[in-house]
Amino acid sequence: MNPTSTSNLDLDTRQETFLDANELIINMGPQHPATHGVLRVILKLDGEKVLGTECVIGYLHRGVEKIAENRTYTMFNPYVDRMDYVAAVSNGLGYCEAVEKLLNVEAPPRARYIRVILTELNRLASHQLWLGTHALDIGAMTPLFYTFRDREEILKIFEKYCGARLTTHAFRIGGCVYETYDGFEDDVKKFLKFVPPKIDEYEELLTTNRIWLERTRNVGTISAKDCIAFGVTGPVLRASGVKWDIRKAQPYSGYENFDFEIPTGQNGDTYDRYLVRLAEMRQALRIIDQAVNSIPEGPIMAKIPKVIKPPVGEIYHSIEAPKGELGYFIVSDGSTQPYRVRVRPPSFVNLQALDLMVRGALVADVIAVIGTLDIVLGEVDR
Amino acid sequence: MTPVATPFFFYFLSALAVLSGIVVITRRNPVHSALSLIVTLLSLAGLYLMLYAPFVAGVQIILYAGGIMVLFLFVIMLVSIERAQREYQFNKQWIVGICATAVLGVLLVLGYSEGKAIFPAIPAAMPENTNTQEIAIFLYGNYLLPFEVASLLLLVAIVGAVVMAKKRI
């Protein structure tokens, strides 16, 4: 069966037998505690059962793609951090790599290792933030504070490295602009020791909690086939059993040098996605461990011209962001400004599957599914 | 324990019951009607208390006011009130209405005129403390069969409600 299209919410049909309750149309958002920002979902309900949804997005639209056309390549770099602001480092990595590819240069090995360490730390931070807010949505308040406590350690490393905690602008086209600070490696190693027991602690709170199991098992199930049809990527795709990760499939930034697993699930439900993300946290630690122990010496900036003027041409480069495939499609006309920058945001594409995942479920499941898709509205709306 | 200001409370509760009863049938908004019905039921519970029937009063509160009326409200809220308000709610069945009122009126008058003989002027000295036990003995002793028949009737009603409400069983 072909999955149904998303936006066929028919607001006018009402069943009018004498015992049928009226269908409720509910606006969830744009100001709602559980829509992770300014997502607005129009729900059509029969009692508590969801008959259909329609997402209304764009409340955070800032025209990032238009801004790119009016800035130079270097000037646009900080803007990408503002899209997925909880995984700003990943965004920066994708953009820098795309422009580097367009210039046909490659960042030096040391820079690539630094990039990998910071990106994986950021993946961990993003997943921690996801776990906290997701658990809060399902009603468990406490994990939120635990994850934020541990995420703080990552942000401290970022702050020491580049002075910013959230929108880091850590990388530059051609490599990194900052050498690691004294004690960077020690800090990271200390963090590697500090965090695994904490992840066990999250698991202790949730993994075998009966209410958590009941709330997440067989909720928002999506099959691998539907995932591919909807273009859903990242942990959601992997939880449905597709072993696909761009870091393995088309390695970038030296990921081929590291040994790590791609965690997958079988059922594609909310619980599997939770397990996959937790496993990804552990894999990220594994990558960081390898990177920080074998980080080479050398320059951190490739030889690139002062004024970046890529030759005429176009490039599509994508990376595995914490939320899925983050792609940059850049068209150069040979000038200092990109002719067109298209961002392929994972959250935007993943959000499309919401309707399929919640149809026939209950209102509480909508919250769980919005949480499990791990969307960031800054990226959905750009 | 000596009762306090019995006549005052009796007339107060009766007036409350009658007034809110009138409100029940005159309000257009079904939720308002249901709420004043609750007031009626609660004042009836008060009257039962004055008749030294605390168990009946308690059951009146717990079942009628706390249980059944909640379900009433539940149903009323689910139906569209805007539409219900627009519709004309009074059935034009004057003849039936007048007949019923007349019969009830006659009953009332008869009860009042004949009742003086049946009901003693001084309330029977019912032992308050064993009231609940007395009810239990009557219900499960003398009136066991009617009691069980009533519960069977309720079961039938539940089955009927499920059959009617459920789209597929």
């Binding site: 998303t6 936006s7 764009g58 056309e69 273009g231 499939a249 176009e314 499609f329 067109r340 | -």
Partner: protein
Amino acid sequence: MPWDSEMVARFKQRYGSGIREASTYLGQSYMIVDSSLIHEILQLLRDDEGFDYCVDVTAVHYPQREQQFDVVWILYSFARNLRIRVKTLIHETESVPSSVDLWVTADWLERECFDMFGIKFDGHPNLKRILLPDGWKGYPLRKDYGIIQQDKEWVQINLGIESGQ
């Protein structure tokens, strides 16, 4: 650099000049096809060549060209681990067939193209603005749309302020 592969050869043999160009740049392959053939070719790519994942649908505006818009499909095949781009060139007034029937994911992506460029996709079930508000006039990612330009009228009516700037 021309894109040599068995698949392209097959397509070229079948469609001849309908495949206007097939090349590889920086290790990434793309082909430009005629807008009348685009839906058929996309379908072939999905069904026979295994490009089951539509990564992105987007557009580029070239105002000085006669055929002003490039519409770009970025496709990926899990089986081959290969990413390609399929492009078609259209006039401003022309529309392209929608690919929602091939990949559901194209729904929102095409809506965004319509929102930003005003490109019409024939057969799209629900082609309306997605990021911008429904009554907005103008297509912001066109090159003739200034960076601080906005739909003044909409702002005044809906937000009750003189200007959003």
